[in-house]
Subunit: 346 residues, 2 copies
């Protein structure tokens, strides 16, 4: 029986969700997945850090109060975040990186990933920053060190996208994709279809916890742009930078535009897309598009996300599911560990 | 470089499509998939049979006329279908079984699968019969002989369903599914929504090649029932027989029912579903259901198929794509070979 020693880097909602999955399901995983997980370290800029080579009690971690330096309350814990120690010297086989997304330079997450990969430790992450901004470098680093670098959760949380395209659709000839990759903006558009004004829909999304206090990244397409870069580079072997992707949002779409679209059997959607052109280059964009209601993405409602792959052999293949959520995103980390187990373990 | 020697059993649309893929893409697969394919035998009850251990010209096979005994026209070919010889003694590593679906006893396909598995030869198939009627026996036979038995294409042709659920959603806790698993009936319902009467919509589906001359299996749910049995047994570890699944179709749905549903923001769909009950048993059915338009399957239009998985950790995850087609189904065979290569090859 394989037991993976995991260190959690960043202990906000996602890695706390992962600790909860470990607390609730580790025994079941032994049977269903063929491995168990032991949490050997946690580090968080706010909460501090802890290393316990014999394993931490996942239930105790889940219950940790959200207070500055709280990890010092556990035996052997510190109020300070000794990130490098936890990543390099906790004895972890796998680092679960789930710190905040920094869309400017991907730090400090990128450094955390580098430390782990250089030390021969697998990395699973749900963080868009390191992949969108430094993906090629980190993938090469992982290859050189013969470890895995998995980030299924960076695009649509737990809904499988990257492995769906790379494994299940291998050989089908993926030539491009269109996606609804931001739950907040899709929620806003859906509520506007039901008659709300843009500003009221945004406030409602904030009240439901979908939108941040500053919803700019969601409604202006910046969040989607990072995901488009990740998917295009991954699935189409593009080498796009964030600045290569033309980006506009939904803030200029009026209630009237939406009503008119409905009357014509169409729907406005914020679409992130990329296509391989005849000359082999890849063109990508983020923009609001008017889709006929027969389009596979037109009916994706509320905070649901979806990607429609354009393939040579199958035409459109579309997957939809949650694009956010604490436990949903924590599942993405688990699915990355399953992938590591399949490829490297057993 | 791995080269898989494949024998094609049944040479109708699907395996002819597979030969076409080999003719067009074998060189590319070397690069993109890490293997090539050599066709070492073909057998077909109508066309005859041929064995060529050094490999057959895929292009020549694609061009073979559809005439009784036509394989005798090729050097070394026979007008008679020496099925057992081709399956057991062509030197094939993998049998691609794509004969017709027999919903009564799964023959002769089941015997063909048995011969291969007993001989230590992997089987890939798109045939619902052997899996729905004899799946447990054949899977056990494959395990005993340490070979693969793969049948992704038996449910939704090339659209990934089984591996999506078993691999990409491993650990998410699939508790059930609902599916639109028959393109003909969904096409008919979609056309009825646009105002056609049931009988006219069926005739149109026949003209487009979606529906058989006798559309009973499509519109009465019998085709869907086989797929529900396959998915429930595979994903929910059920042990359902075809007779365990209550089955009704769409022939009693009137144009008026559909118009009324539309007016109420709902759609009639033929749904195959299965759910794990509180006591651990699995309940499955095929029936027309009235879905609110917010349901992930309500907007699936035309001949498209879709499955929505109910999961503990992610809620609904839905995949849609083609559910039929010569090349689409041939891709399912390729995807099974990719899976064999991942698990057994390299």
């Amino acid at each position: 029986m394989t037991e993976y020693k995991i260190a959690l880097v960043g202990f906000g909602g996602v890695n706390r969700g992962f600790a909860q999955l470990v607390a609730d399901r580790n025994a079941e995983w032994k049977e269903s997945l063929g491995f168990t997980v032991k949490i050997v370290g946690v580090t968080d800029l706010f909460l501090g850090s802890i290393v316990a080579k014999d394993g931490l009690d996942a239930k105790q971690l889940v219950a940790l109060p959200i207070e500055k330096g709280a990890l010092a309350q556990l035996p052997g814990g510190n109020a300070e975040a000794f990130n490098e120690t936890v990543i390099k010297h906790s004895g972890a086989d796998i680092i679960a990186e789930a710190t905040f997304t920094n869309p400017v330079d991907g730090e400090p997450a990128t450094t955390f990933c580098r430390w782990a990969l250089e030390s021969g430790i697998h990395v699973v992450t749900t963080n868009k920053g390191p992949i969108a901004l430094h993906g090629a470098e980190l993938k090469a680093l992982a290859r050189r060190n013969q470890v895995a670098f998995e980030y299924e959760g960076a695009v649509m949380s737990g809904t499988p996208v990257i492995r769906l395209a790379k494994q299940a659709l291998a050989g089908a000839g993926v030539q491009g994709f269109e996606g609804i990759l931001n739950g907040t903006s899709n929620y806003v558009l859906t509520q506007m279809k039901d008659g709300l004004a843009f500003n009221d829909a945004v406030v409602q999304a904030q009240q439901l916890g979908y939108a941040e206090a500053d919803p700019t990244a969601d409604v202006e397409g910046f969040d989607v742009r990072l995901k488009v870069v990740i998917l295009a580079n991954e699935l189409l072997n593009a080498r796009l930078n964030v600045s290569d992707v033309a980006c506009s949002g939904i803030s200029n779409i009026s209630a009237q535009d939406i009503a008119q679209a409905s009357a014509n059997g169409a729907s406005w959607k914020l679409i992130g897309s990329a296509d391989r052109e005849a000359d082999g280059s890849v063109r990508a964009s983020v923009e609001a598009r008017l889709l006929p209601n027969s389009h596979p993405l037109a009916g994706i409602a509320g905070a649901t996300n979806a990607v429609s792959f354009k393939t040579e052999l199958l035409g459109a293949v579309t997957v939809s599911g949650p694009g956010a959520g604490r436990i949903e995103t924590a599942f993405a980390l688990l699915s990355d560990i399953v992938a590591i187990h399949t490829a490297h373990g057993k």
